[in-house]
Protein backbone atom coordinates (compact mmCIF):
# COMPACT_ATOMS: atom_id res chain seq x y z
CA UNK A 1 0.00 0.00 0.00
CA UNK A 2 1.51 3.29 -1.00
CA UNK A 3 0.65 6.31 1.08
CA UNK A 4 -0.27 9.43 -0.77
CA UNK A 5 2.67 11.70 -1.26
CA UNK A 6 4.05 13.71 -4.14
CA UNK A 7 7.32 12.02 -4.97
CA UNK A 8 8.84 15.24 -6.27
CA UNK A 9 9.32 16.50 -2.72
CA UNK A 10 9.34 13.29 -0.80
CA UNK A 11 11.89 10.56 -0.65
CA UNK A 12 12.92 7.97 1.87
CA UNK A 13 16.38 8.39 3.26
CA UNK A 14 18.61 6.44 0.92
CA UNK A 15 20.24 3.36 2.33
CA UNK A 16 21.75 0.33 0.65
CA UNK A 17 19.85 -1.82 3.14
CA UNK A 18 16.62 -0.18 2.41
CA UNK A 19 14.33 -1.57 -0.25
CA UNK A 20 13.94 1.39 -2.53
CA UNK A 21 11.04 2.73 -4.53
CA UNK A 22 8.33 1.82 -2.08
CA UNK A 23 6.34 4.80 -3.10
CA UNK A 24 5.24 5.37 -6.66
CA UNK A 25 4.54 8.79 -8.04
CA UNK A 26 0.97 9.56 -7.24
CA UNK A 27 0.56 12.15 -9.90
CA UNK A 28 1.67 9.58 -12.45
CA UNK A 29 -0.97 7.12 -11.32
CA UNK A 30 -3.94 9.41 -11.02
CA UNK A 31 -4.02 10.59 -14.56
CA UNK A 32 -1.72 13.50 -15.25
CA UNK A 33 -1.22 16.85 -13.70
CA UNK A 34 -4.69 18.36 -14.08
CA UNK A 35 -5.93 19.67 -10.73
CA UNK A 36 -8.07 17.27 -8.76
CA UNK A 37 -11.78 17.87 -8.35
CA UNK A 38 -12.38 17.70 -4.61
CA UNK A 39 -16.15 18.22 -4.57
CA UNK A 40 -17.80 15.21 -2.91
CA UNK A 41 -20.88 15.83 -5.06
CA UNK A 42 -18.89 15.17 -8.26
CA UNK A 43 -18.01 11.76 -9.73
CA UNK A 44 -14.55 13.16 -10.51
CA UNK A 45 -14.07 13.80 -6.80
CA UNK A 46 -13.89 10.06 -6.17
CA UNK A 47 -12.79 8.48 -9.43
CA UNK A 48 -10.21 8.87 -12.16
CA UNK A 49 -10.20 6.41 -15.07
CA UNK A 50 -6.55 6.01 -16.03
CA UNK A 51 -5.21 5.42 -19.54
CA UNK A 52 -3.87 1.99 -18.58
CA UNK A 53 -7.33 0.67 -17.75
CA UNK A 54 -7.04 1.07 -14.00
CA UNK A 55 -9.33 3.27 -11.93
CA UNK A 56 -8.08 5.34 -9.00
CA UNK A 57 -10.45 5.76 -6.06
CA UNK A 58 -9.94 8.88 -3.94
CA UNK A 59 -11.25 8.16 -0.46
CA UNK A 60 -11.59 10.84 2.20
CA UNK A 61 -12.00 8.21 4.93
CA UNK A 62 -8.82 6.56 6.15
CA UNK A 63 -7.73 3.03 7.00
CA UNK A 64 -6.21 2.51 10.44
CA UNK A 65 -6.10 -1.23 9.96
CA UNK A 66 -9.86 -1.74 9.97
CA UNK A 67 -9.85 -2.76 6.30
CA UNK A 68 -11.32 0.17 4.37
CA UNK A 69 -8.60 -0.15 1.73
CA UNK A 70 -10.06 -3.42 0.52
CA UNK A 71 -13.69 -2.86 1.48
CA UNK A 72 -13.98 0.46 -0.37
CA UNK A 73 -12.16 -1.01 -3.35
CA UNK A 74 -14.67 -3.86 -3.39
CA UNK A 75 -17.65 -1.52 -3.23
CA UNK A 76 -16.24 0.66 -6.00
CA UNK A 77 -15.19 -2.27 -8.21
CA UNK A 78 -18.52 -4.01 -7.80
CA UNK A 79 -20.58 -0.98 -8.70
CA UNK A 80 -18.33 0.17 -11.56
CA UNK A 81 -17.97 -3.27 -13.13
CA UNK A 82 -14.21 -3.74 -12.94
CA UNK A 83 -11.89 -6.17 -11.18
CA UNK A 84 -10.84 -5.16 -7.68
CA UNK A 85 -7.17 -5.60 -8.68
CA UNK A 86 -7.64 -2.77 -11.19
CA UNK A 87 -8.53 -0.27 -8.48
CA UNK A 88 -5.79 2.04 -7.24
CA UNK A 89 -6.40 3.83 -3.99
CA UNK A 90 -5.59 7.18 -2.44
CA UNK A 91 -6.77 8.09 1.07
CA UNK A 92 -7.01 11.08 3.40
CA UNK A 93 -4.99 13.66 1.43
CA UNK A 94 -6.52 17.13 1.47
CA UNK A 95 -5.00 17.89 -1.95
CA UNK A 96 -6.36 14.73 -3.59
CA UNK A 97 -9.39 13.33 -1.80
CA UNK A 98 -12.83 14.87 -1.14
CA UNK A 99 -13.81 15.78 2.41
CA UNK A 100 -15.91 12.84 3.62
CA UNK A 101 -15.77 13.83 7.26
CA UNK A 102 -13.78 12.32 10.09
CA UNK A 103 -13.11 8.58 10.12
CA UNK A 104 -14.80 7.71 13.38
CA UNK A 105 -17.90 6.12 14.82
CA UNK A 106 -17.82 3.21 12.33
CA UNK A 107 -18.71 5.63 9.52
CA UNK A 108 -16.10 4.45 7.00
CA UNK A 109 -18.34 2.04 5.14
CA UNK A 110 -21.80 3.23 6.07
CA UNK A 111 -21.14 6.86 5.13
CA UNK A 112 -17.87 6.94 3.17
CA UNK A 113 -18.36 3.69 1.31
CA UNK A 114 -21.97 4.43 0.47
CA UNK A 115 -21.00 7.84 -0.94
CA UNK A 116 -18.34 6.24 -3.15
CA UNK A 117 -20.74 3.48 -4.20
CA UNK A 118 -23.23 6.11 -5.40
CA UNK A 119 -20.46 7.88 -7.32
CA UNK A 120 -19.55 4.51 -8.88
CA UNK A 121 -23.04 3.69 -10.02
CA UNK A 122 -23.37 7.19 -11.50
CA UNK A 123 -20.07 6.63 -13.30
CA UNK A 124 -21.16 3.21 -14.58
CA UNK A 125 -24.36 4.70 -15.99
CA UNK A 126 -22.33 7.40 -17.75
CA UNK A 127 -19.85 4.86 -19.14
CA UNK A 128 -22.69 2.74 -20.51
CA UNK A 129 -24.27 5.80 -22.15
CA UNK A 130 -20.94 6.75 -23.74
CA UNK A 131 -20.53 3.22 -25.07
CA UNK A 132 -24.12 3.16 -26.36
CA UNK A 133 -23.38 6.20 -28.53
CA UNK A 134 -20.23 4.61 -29.90
CA UNK A 135 -21.75 1.20 -30.51
CA UNK A 136 -25.08 2.51 -31.71
CA UNK A 137 -26.82 0.40 -29.09
CA UNK A 138 -29.37 1.09 -26.42
CA UNK A 139 -27.91 1.54 -22.91
CA UNK A 140 -30.21 -1.17 -21.57
CA UNK A 141 -28.60 -3.69 -23.94
CA UNK A 142 -25.15 -3.04 -22.51
CA UNK A 143 -23.38 -4.11 -19.34
CA UNK A 144 -20.16 -3.01 -17.58
CA UNK A 145 -17.92 -5.98 -16.77
CA UNK A 146 -14.18 -6.28 -16.15
CA UNK A 147 -13.50 -2.66 -16.97
CA UNK A 148 -15.34 -2.56 -20.25
CA UNK A 149 -18.84 -1.93 -21.54
CA UNK A 150 -20.10 -4.75 -23.73
CA UNK A 151 -23.34 -5.94 -25.29
CA UNK A 152 -25.32 -8.20 -22.97
CA UNK A 153 -25.85 -10.47 -25.98
CA UNK A 154 -22.10 -10.83 -26.45
CA UNK A 155 -19.66 -9.27 -28.87
CA UNK A 156 -16.94 -6.68 -28.73
CA UNK A 157 -16.99 -4.08 -25.96
CA UNK A 158 -15.18 -0.82 -25.30
CA UNK A 159 -12.84 -0.40 -22.35
CA UNK A 160 -13.38 2.27 -19.70
CA UNK A 161 -9.94 3.65 -20.65
CA UNK A 162 -11.03 4.10 -24.28
CA UNK A 163 -14.32 5.65 -23.24
CA UNK A 164 -13.00 8.22 -20.75
CA UNK A 165 -9.38 7.40 -19.78
CA UNK A 166 -7.43 10.48 -18.61
CA UNK A 167 -10.55 12.62 -19.02
CA UNK A 168 -13.12 13.91 -16.58
CA UNK A 169 -16.70 12.78 -16.20
CA UNK A 170 -17.86 16.34 -15.42
CA UNK A 171 -20.85 14.79 -13.78
CA UNK A 172 -22.72 15.33 -10.52
CA UNK A 173 -23.32 12.20 -8.46
CA UNK A 174 -26.90 11.14 -9.10
CA UNK A 175 -28.44 10.16 -5.76
CA UNK A 176 -31.12 8.26 -7.69
CA UNK A 177 -28.80 6.29 -10.00
CA UNK A 178 -29.88 2.68 -9.43
CA UNK A 179 -27.52 0.42 -7.51
CA UNK A 180 -26.76 -3.14 -8.51
CA UNK A 181 -29.00 -5.80 -7.04
CA UNK A 182 -26.98 -7.33 -4.17
CA UNK A 183 -28.01 -10.81 -5.34
CA UNK A 184 -25.85 -10.23 -8.44
CA UNK A 185 -22.74 -9.24 -6.47
CA UNK A 186 -19.54 -11.01 -7.45
CA UNK A 187 -17.01 -8.92 -5.47
CA UNK A 188 -18.78 -7.45 -2.42
CA UNK A 189 -19.35 -10.07 0.25
CA UNK A 190 -16.19 -12.02 -0.55
CA UNK A 191 -13.54 -12.00 2.17
CA UNK A 192 -10.56 -10.65 0.22
CA UNK A 193 -7.12 -10.20 1.79
CA UNK A 194 -6.22 -6.69 2.95
CA UNK A 195 -3.63 -5.09 0.66
CA UNK A 196 -1.67 -3.56 3.54
CA UNK A 197 -1.01 -6.86 5.32
CA UNK A 198 2.01 -8.17 3.34
CA UNK A 199 3.82 -4.84 3.77
CA UNK A 200 3.00 -4.83 7.48
CA UNK A 201 4.47 -8.34 7.85
CA UNK A 202 7.69 -7.54 5.97
CA UNK A 203 8.54 -4.06 7.24
CA UNK A 204 7.65 -2.29 4.00
CA UNK A 205 4.62 -0.41 5.32
CA UNK A 206 5.47 3.24 5.90
CA UNK A 207 3.82 4.47 9.06
CA UNK A 208 3.94 8.16 9.88
CA UNK A 209 6.62 7.15 12.40
CA UNK A 210 8.80 5.85 9.55
CA UNK A 211 8.30 8.71 7.15
CA UNK A 212 11.14 11.09 6.34
CA UNK A 213 11.66 14.02 3.98
CA UNK A 214 15.02 15.41 2.83
CA UNK A 215 16.51 17.90 5.27
CA UNK A 216 14.21 16.76 8.05
CA UNK A 217 15.14 17.32 11.69
CA UNK A 218 13.92 15.37 14.69
CA UNK A 219 12.32 17.00 17.71
CA UNK A 220 10.98 16.15 21.15
CA UNK A 221 8.72 18.47 23.09
CA UNK A 222 9.69 19.02 26.71
CA UNK A 223 6.56 19.28 28.81
CA UNK A 224 5.94 20.74 32.23
CA UNK A 225 5.42 18.38 35.16
CA UNK A 226 1.75 19.45 35.28
CA UNK A 227 -0.59 20.86 32.64
CA UNK A 228 -0.68 24.39 34.05
CA UNK A 229 3.07 24.67 34.65
CA UNK A 230 4.74 27.76 33.19
CA UNK A 231 8.32 27.84 32.01
CA UNK A 232 10.30 29.99 34.42
CA UNK A 233 13.78 29.46 33.07
CA UNK A 234 15.78 27.14 30.91
CA UNK A 235 19.51 26.63 30.57
CA UNK A 236 19.73 25.92 26.85
CA UNK A 237 23.44 25.15 26.97
CA UNK A 238 22.76 21.89 28.79
CA UNK A 239 20.98 20.51 25.71
CA UNK A 240 23.13 22.27 23.18
CA UNK A 241 26.20 20.56 24.63
CA UNK A 242 24.58 17.35 23.44
CA UNK A 243 24.14 18.64 19.89
CA UNK A 244 20.49 19.63 20.12
CA UNK A 245 19.06 23.07 19.48
CA UNK A 246 16.44 24.34 21.91
CA UNK A 247 13.28 25.99 20.62
CA UNK A 248 11.41 28.06 23.15
CA UNK A 249 8.16 29.86 22.36
CA UNK A 250 6.56 31.17 25.55
CA UNK A 251 5.93 27.96 27.55
CA UNK A 252 6.53 25.66 24.59
CA UNK A 253 9.91 23.99 24.76
CA UNK A 254 11.44 21.54 22.30
CA UNK A 255 14.81 19.98 21.54
CA UNK A 256 15.70 19.69 17.84
CA UNK A 257 18.55 17.74 16.23
CA UNK A 258 19.44 15.94 13.01
CA UNK A 259 19.78 12.65 14.92
CA UNK A 260 16.75 11.30 16.75
CA UNK A 261 18.72 9.89 19.68
CA UNK A 262 20.09 13.37 20.45
CA UNK A 263 16.54 14.60 20.90
CA UNK A 264 15.89 11.82 23.39
CA UNK A 265 19.06 12.49 25.38
CA UNK A 266 19.00 16.26 25.32
CA UNK A 267 15.75 16.82 27.25
CA UNK A 268 17.09 14.58 30.02
CA UNK A 269 20.05 16.89 30.38
CA UNK A 270 18.10 20.10 29.87
CA UNK A 271 17.71 22.16 33.01
CA UNK A 272 14.25 23.67 32.77
CA UNK A 273 12.41 25.19 35.69
CA UNK A 274 8.63 25.12 35.67
CA UNK A 275 6.13 26.72 37.98
CA UNK A 276 4.11 24.40 40.14
CA UNK A 277 0.51 23.67 39.33
CA UNK A 278 -1.91 21.33 41.04
CA UNK A 279 -5.29 22.13 39.55
CA UNK A 280 -6.26 18.56 38.72
CA UNK A 281 -8.26 16.56 41.27
CA UNK A 282 -6.50 13.70 42.99
CA UNK A 283 -6.95 10.50 41.00
CA UNK A 284 -8.08 8.43 43.99
CA UNK A 285 -10.69 11.05 44.89
CA UNK A 286 -12.02 11.33 41.36
CA UNK A 287 -15.41 9.77 42.08
CA UNK A 288 -16.07 12.13 44.99
CA UNK A 289 -14.88 15.05 42.90
CA UNK A 290 -17.30 14.16 40.12
CA UNK A 291 -20.15 13.80 42.57
CA UNK A 292 -19.53 17.33 43.79
CA UNK A 293 -18.81 18.78 40.35
CA UNK A 294 -20.63 21.84 39.10
CA UNK A 295 -21.32 20.08 35.79
CA UNK A 296 -23.93 17.44 36.54
CA UNK A 297 -26.37 16.51 33.82
CA UNK A 298 -29.70 14.89 34.52
CA UNK A 299 -30.54 13.05 31.37
CA UNK A 300 -33.99 11.64 30.73
CA UNK A 301 -33.50 8.58 28.53
CA UNK A 302 -37.00 7.10 28.52
CA UNK A 303 -40.23 8.39 29.99
CA UNK A 304 -42.99 5.88 29.41
CA UNK A 305 -46.35 6.18 31.07
CA UNK A 306 -46.62 7.89 34.44
CA UNK A 307 -44.70 6.46 37.37
CA UNK A 308 -47.21 5.54 40.04
CA UNK A 309 -46.27 7.60 43.04
CA UNK A 310 -46.18 6.66 45.76
CA UNK A 311 -44.95 3.31 44.45
CA UNK A 312 -47.54 0.54 44.95
CA UNK A 313 -47.07 -2.06 47.61
CA UNK A 314 -44.68 -4.80 46.53
CA UNK A 315 -42.76 -2.54 44.20
CA UNK A 316 -39.02 -2.98 44.31
CA UNK A 317 -36.65 -0.11 43.70
CA UNK A 318 -33.29 -0.76 42.14
CA UNK A 319 -30.47 1.76 42.12
CA UNK A 320 -26.95 1.47 40.80
CA UNK A 321 -24.00 3.76 40.31
CA UNK A 322 -21.43 3.27 37.59
CA UNK A 323 -18.07 4.98 37.68
CA UNK A 324 -15.14 4.76 35.36
CA UNK A 325 -11.98 6.73 35.72
CA UNK A 326 -9.99 8.80 33.27
CA UNK A 327 -8.66 6.46 30.58
CA UNK A 328 -5.72 6.93 28.29
CA UNK A 329 -6.41 5.65 24.79
CA UNK A 330 -2.80 4.51 24.86
CA UNK A 331 -1.79 3.65 21.32
CA UNK A 332 1.03 1.13 21.19
CA UNK A 333 3.14 3.62 19.26
CA UNK A 334 3.31 7.08 20.81
CA UNK A 335 2.02 9.78 18.48
CA UNK A 336 4.21 11.12 15.73
CA UNK A 337 4.01 13.58 12.82
CA UNK A 338 6.14 15.29 10.20
CA UNK A 339 5.57 18.91 9.20
CA UNK A 340 7.15 21.15 6.60
CA UNK A 341 5.99 24.69 7.33
CA UNK A 342 7.24 27.40 4.99
CA UNK A 343 6.53 31.12 4.80
CA UNK A 344 3.58 30.68 2.44
CA UNK A 345 2.53 27.05 2.73
CA UNK A 346 2.54 23.97 4.92
CA UNK A 347 2.53 20.22 4.35
CA UNK A 348 1.77 17.97 7.28
CA UNK A 349 2.03 14.19 7.30
CA UNK A 350 -0.20 12.89 10.04
CA UNK A 351 -2.15 9.89 11.26
CA UNK A 352 -5.10 12.21 11.86
CA UNK A 353 -8.47 10.61 11.23
CA UNK A 354 -9.78 13.95 10.08
CA UNK A 355 -7.24 15.50 7.70
CA UNK A 356 -9.80 17.79 6.05
CA UNK A 357 -11.19 19.19 9.29
CA UNK A 358 -7.70 19.63 10.63
CA UNK A 359 -6.61 21.43 7.50
CA UNK A 360 -8.91 24.28 8.51
CA UNK A 361 -7.58 24.19 12.08
CA UNK A 362 -3.96 24.17 10.95
CA UNK A 363 -4.59 27.01 8.48
CA UNK A 364 -6.01 29.15 11.29
CA UNK A 365 -3.28 28.22 13.69
CA UNK A 366 -0.48 28.87 11.17
CA UNK A 367 -2.13 31.98 9.75
CA UNK A 368 -2.17 30.54 6.21
CA UNK A 369 -5.03 30.29 3.71
CA UNK A 370 -6.55 26.77 3.84
CA UNK A 371 -5.64 26.10 0.20
CA UNK A 372 -1.98 26.55 1.14
CA UNK A 373 -2.15 23.86 3.81
CA UNK A 374 -2.01 20.21 2.87
CA UNK A 375 -2.52 17.35 5.29
CA UNK A 376 -1.55 13.89 4.11
CA UNK A 377 -2.69 10.83 6.01
CA UNK A 378 -0.15 8.18 6.87
CA UNK A 379 -1.08 5.27 9.05
CA UNK A 380 -0.06 5.45 12.70
CA UNK A 381 -0.32 2.97 15.53
CA UNK A 382 -3.91 1.83 16.05
CA UNK A 383 -6.26 4.30 17.61
CA UNK A 384 -8.97 3.30 20.08
CA UNK A 385 -10.40 6.66 20.97
CA UNK A 386 -8.46 9.79 20.23
CA UNK A 387 -4.71 9.59 20.61
CA UNK A 388 -2.18 12.39 20.30
CA UNK A 389 -1.53 12.23 16.55
CA UNK A 390 -3.10 15.60 15.82
CA UNK A 391 -1.37 17.22 18.79
CA UNK A 392 1.96 15.79 17.65
CA UNK A 393 1.24 17.30 14.22
CA UNK A 394 0.72 20.69 15.85
CA UNK A 395 4.00 20.25 17.75
CA UNK A 396 5.80 19.42 14.50
CA UNK A 397 4.26 22.44 12.76
CA UNK A 398 5.33 24.79 15.56
CA UNK A 399 8.90 23.52 15.57
CA UNK A 400 9.14 23.41 11.74
CA UNK A 401 8.04 27.01 11.52
CA UNK A 402 10.55 27.99 14.22
CA UNK A 403 13.55 26.28 12.58
CA UNK A 404 12.57 26.67 8.92
CA UNK A 405 13.11 22.98 8.15
CA UNK A 406 10.87 19.92 7.92
CA UNK A 407 10.52 18.46 11.41
CA UNK A 408 9.44 15.10 12.75
CA UNK A 409 8.09 15.04 16.29
CA UNK A 410 7.93 11.70 18.04
CA UNK A 411 6.14 11.64 21.36
CA UNK A 412 7.65 9.59 24.16
CA UNK A 413 5.71 6.93 26.00
CA UNK A 414 5.45 9.40 28.88
CA UNK A 415 4.06 12.07 26.50
CA UNK A 416 1.39 9.67 25.24
CA UNK A 417 0.34 8.48 28.69
CA UNK A 418 0.47 11.94 30.19
CA UNK A 419 -0.77 14.14 27.37
CA UNK A 420 -2.92 12.16 24.93
CA UNK A 421 -6.60 13.22 24.73
CA UNK A 422 -8.19 11.14 27.45
CA UNK A 423 -11.47 9.36 27.72
CA UNK A 424 -13.12 11.55 30.37
CA UNK A 425 -14.11 10.10 33.76
CA UNK A 426 -17.79 9.33 34.05
CA UNK A 427 -20.21 8.72 36.86
CA UNK A 428 -23.75 7.50 36.32
CA UNK A 429 -26.51 7.12 38.90
CA UNK A 430 -29.47 5.10 37.66
CA UNK A 431 -32.56 4.06 39.58
CA UNK A 432 -35.86 2.44 38.76
CA UNK A 433 -38.73 0.46 40.20
CA UNK A 434 -40.26 -2.86 39.15
CA UNK A 435 -43.25 -4.87 40.30
CA UNK A 436 -44.56 -8.16 38.96
CA UNK A 437 -41.85 -8.11 36.24
CA UNK A 438 -43.18 -4.77 35.11
CA UNK A 439 -41.07 -1.64 34.94
CA UNK A 440 -42.82 1.03 36.97
CA UNK A 441 -40.29 3.83 36.96
Amino acid sequence: MCPAAPSSRVARSPSPLHRAARCVDLFAQDGGSSPRILDPKEVDGFFAVNGDGTVTVFCGKVDLGQGLRIAIRQMAAEELGIGVEKIKYVEGDTALTPDQGRTSGSSGIQRGGVQIRQAATTARKALIELAAQRLGSKPEDLVAVDGQVQPKAGGAGISFATLIGERRFDLKIDPKAPLKDPSTYTIVGKPLPRPDVPAKCTGANIYVHDFTVPGMLHARVIRPPAIGGKLISVDESTAENLGAKVVRIKDFLAAVAPDEWMTVRAPRALRAQWSEWSGLPEQDRLEATLRNAAEITDELLVNKGAPELPLPKGAKTIAASYFWPMQSHASLGPSCAVADVRADSATIWTASQGTHGNRRSFARFLGLPPEKVRLIYLEGAGCYGMNGHEDAAADAAIVSRAVGRPVRVQWSRQDEHGWDPKGPPQLLDISGAVADDRILA
Binding site: S13, R19, G65, V197, K200, G203, I206, E260, G382
Partner: protein, 154 residues
Protein backbone atom coordinates in the same frame (compact mmCIF):
# COMPACT_ATOMS: atom_id res chain seq x y z
CA UNK B 1 32.91 9.56 17.08
CA UNK B 2 33.49 5.83 17.40
CA UNK B 3 32.92 3.33 14.66
CA UNK B 4 31.12 0.05 15.27
CA UNK B 5 31.11 -2.90 12.92
CA UNK B 6 27.76 -4.67 12.97
CA UNK B 7 26.42 -7.36 10.68
CA UNK B 8 22.86 -6.31 9.82
CA UNK B 9 20.64 -8.59 7.77
CA UNK B 10 23.72 -10.27 6.33
CA UNK B 11 25.56 -7.08 5.40
CA UNK B 12 28.56 -5.86 7.33
CA UNK B 13 27.99 -2.24 8.26
CA UNK B 14 30.13 0.37 9.86
CA UNK B 15 28.09 2.61 12.15
CA UNK B 16 29.38 5.85 13.63
CA UNK B 17 28.17 6.95 17.04
CA UNK B 18 29.50 9.45 19.54
CA UNK B 19 27.49 7.69 22.22
CA UNK B 20 28.25 4.02 22.96
CA UNK B 21 24.87 3.85 24.72
CA UNK B 22 22.88 4.82 21.62
CA UNK B 23 20.10 2.24 21.44
CA UNK B 24 20.20 -0.16 18.50
CA UNK B 25 16.59 0.87 17.70
CA UNK B 26 17.71 4.38 16.74
CA UNK B 27 20.70 3.02 14.83
CA UNK B 28 18.48 0.75 12.75
CA UNK B 29 15.82 3.38 12.10
CA UNK B 30 18.52 5.88 11.17
CA UNK B 31 19.70 3.40 8.53
CA UNK B 32 16.18 3.32 7.06
CA UNK B 33 15.35 -0.05 8.64
CA UNK B 34 12.10 1.09 10.18
CA UNK B 35 10.32 -2.23 10.76
CA UNK B 36 11.40 -2.26 14.42
CA UNK B 37 9.10 0.21 16.14
CA UNK B 38 9.38 2.58 19.07
CA UNK B 39 6.62 1.76 21.51
CA UNK B 40 7.88 2.55 24.98
CA UNK B 41 11.67 2.82 25.05
CA UNK B 42 11.53 0.82 28.29
CA UNK B 43 11.64 -2.79 27.06
CA UNK B 44 8.04 -3.32 28.08
CA UNK B 45 6.03 -3.56 24.84
CA UNK B 46 8.11 -5.67 22.44
CA UNK B 47 7.48 -3.51 19.35
CA UNK B 48 11.23 -3.01 18.82
CA UNK B 49 12.19 -6.71 19.01
CA UNK B 50 14.98 -7.85 16.68
CA UNK B 51 17.24 -10.90 16.60
CA UNK B 52 20.80 -10.71 17.88
CA UNK B 53 22.70 -13.85 16.94
CA UNK B 54 19.30 -15.47 16.43
CA UNK B 55 17.89 -14.59 19.85
CA UNK B 56 15.07 -12.11 20.41
CA UNK B 57 16.22 -8.84 21.96
CA UNK B 58 14.65 -5.46 22.65
CA UNK B 59 16.49 -3.05 20.38
CA UNK B 60 15.50 -0.10 22.60
CA UNK B 61 17.40 -1.71 25.49
CA UNK B 62 20.40 -2.85 23.43
CA UNK B 63 23.20 -0.37 22.79
CA UNK B 64 25.32 0.02 19.71
CA UNK B 65 28.29 -1.11 21.82
CA UNK B 66 26.40 -4.31 22.73
CA UNK B 67 26.12 -5.38 19.09
CA UNK B 68 29.68 -4.62 18.00
CA UNK B 69 30.80 -7.49 15.72
CA UNK B 70 27.51 -9.30 16.21
CA UNK B 71 24.74 -10.31 13.79
CA UNK B 72 21.46 -8.39 13.93
CA UNK B 73 18.36 -9.44 12.00
CA UNK B 74 15.34 -7.21 11.51
CA UNK B 75 11.96 -7.97 9.94
CA UNK B 76 13.28 -6.62 6.62
CA UNK B 77 16.08 -9.20 6.75
CA UNK B 78 13.72 -12.16 7.08
CA UNK B 79 11.96 -11.88 3.74
CA UNK B 80 9.87 -9.72 1.49
CA UNK B 81 6.28 -9.68 0.22
CA UNK B 82 7.36 -11.66 -2.87
CA UNK B 83 9.57 -14.03 -0.89
CA UNK B 84 8.41 -14.08 2.73
CA UNK B 85 9.95 -16.06 5.61
CA UNK B 86 7.61 -18.91 6.68
CA UNK B 87 6.52 -16.96 9.78
CA UNK B 88 5.85 -13.86 7.68
CA UNK B 89 3.92 -16.04 5.21
CA UNK B 90 1.81 -17.46 8.05
CA UNK B 91 1.09 -13.96 9.41
CA UNK B 92 0.03 -12.85 5.91
CA UNK B 93 -2.12 -15.93 5.35
CA UNK B 94 -3.86 -15.51 8.71
CA UNK B 95 -4.26 -11.75 8.04
CA UNK B 96 -2.84 -11.16 11.51
CA UNK B 97 -2.20 -7.41 11.73
CA UNK B 98 -4.81 -4.78 12.30
CA UNK B 99 -2.73 -1.61 12.59
CA UNK B 100 0.39 -3.78 12.44
CA UNK B 101 2.53 -1.62 14.72
CA UNK B 102 3.35 -4.63 16.94
CA UNK B 103 3.67 -7.10 14.05
CA UNK B 104 7.41 -6.76 13.48
CA UNK B 105 8.14 -7.52 17.13
CA UNK B 106 5.64 -10.38 17.18
CA UNK B 107 7.21 -12.03 14.13
CA UNK B 108 10.77 -11.61 15.45
CA UNK B 109 9.82 -13.15 18.81
CA UNK B 110 8.06 -15.99 16.99
CA UNK B 111 11.07 -16.66 14.76
CA UNK B 112 13.33 -16.80 17.83
CA UNK B 113 10.94 -19.21 19.53
CA UNK B 114 10.71 -21.54 16.54
CA UNK B 115 14.50 -21.58 16.21
CA UNK B 116 14.69 -22.93 19.76
CA UNK B 117 11.50 -24.98 19.79
CA UNK B 118 10.46 -26.14 16.34
CA UNK B 119 7.12 -27.61 17.51
CA UNK B 120 5.92 -25.46 20.39
CA UNK B 121 2.64 -26.03 22.17
CA UNK B 122 0.11 -23.22 22.17
CA UNK B 123 1.06 -22.49 25.77
CA UNK B 124 4.70 -22.18 24.80
CA UNK B 125 3.76 -19.73 22.03
CA UNK B 126 1.70 -17.66 24.44
CA UNK B 127 4.48 -17.68 26.98
CA UNK B 128 7.17 -16.74 24.43
CA UNK B 129 5.08 -13.86 23.11
CA UNK B 130 3.64 -12.53 26.34
CA UNK B 131 6.09 -9.63 26.32
CA UNK B 132 4.79 -8.48 22.93
CA UNK B 133 1.78 -6.26 23.42
CA UNK B 134 -0.92 -5.67 20.80
CA UNK B 135 -3.46 -2.91 21.43
CA UNK B 136 -5.68 -4.03 18.51
CA UNK B 137 -6.09 -7.41 20.29
CA UNK B 138 -4.91 -9.62 17.44
CA UNK B 139 -3.28 -12.08 19.87
CA UNK B 140 -5.54 -14.99 18.92
CA UNK B 141 -4.57 -14.64 15.26
CA UNK B 142 -0.91 -14.28 16.26
CA UNK B 143 -0.97 -17.59 18.11
CA UNK B 144 -2.80 -19.24 15.21
CA UNK B 145 -0.18 -17.98 12.73
CA UNK B 146 2.78 -19.10 14.85
CA UNK B 147 1.22 -22.55 15.28
CA UNK B 148 0.63 -22.72 11.52
CA UNK B 149 4.23 -21.68 10.84
CA UNK B 150 5.43 -24.51 13.09
CA UNK B 151 3.45 -26.96 10.99
CA UNK B 152 0.74 -27.46 13.60
CA UNK B 153 -2.81 -26.16 13.41
CA UNK B 154 -3.47 -23.92 10.44
Amino acid sequence: MDSYTVRINGFTRSVESSDPDKPLLYVLRGLGLTAAKFGCGLGQCGACTVLIEGRAARSCQTTIADVRDRAVTTLEGLGSSSSPHPVQAAFIKEQVPQCGYCTSGMIMSAVALLAQTAKPTEDEVRSALDGNLCRCSTHVRVVRAVMAASGAGG
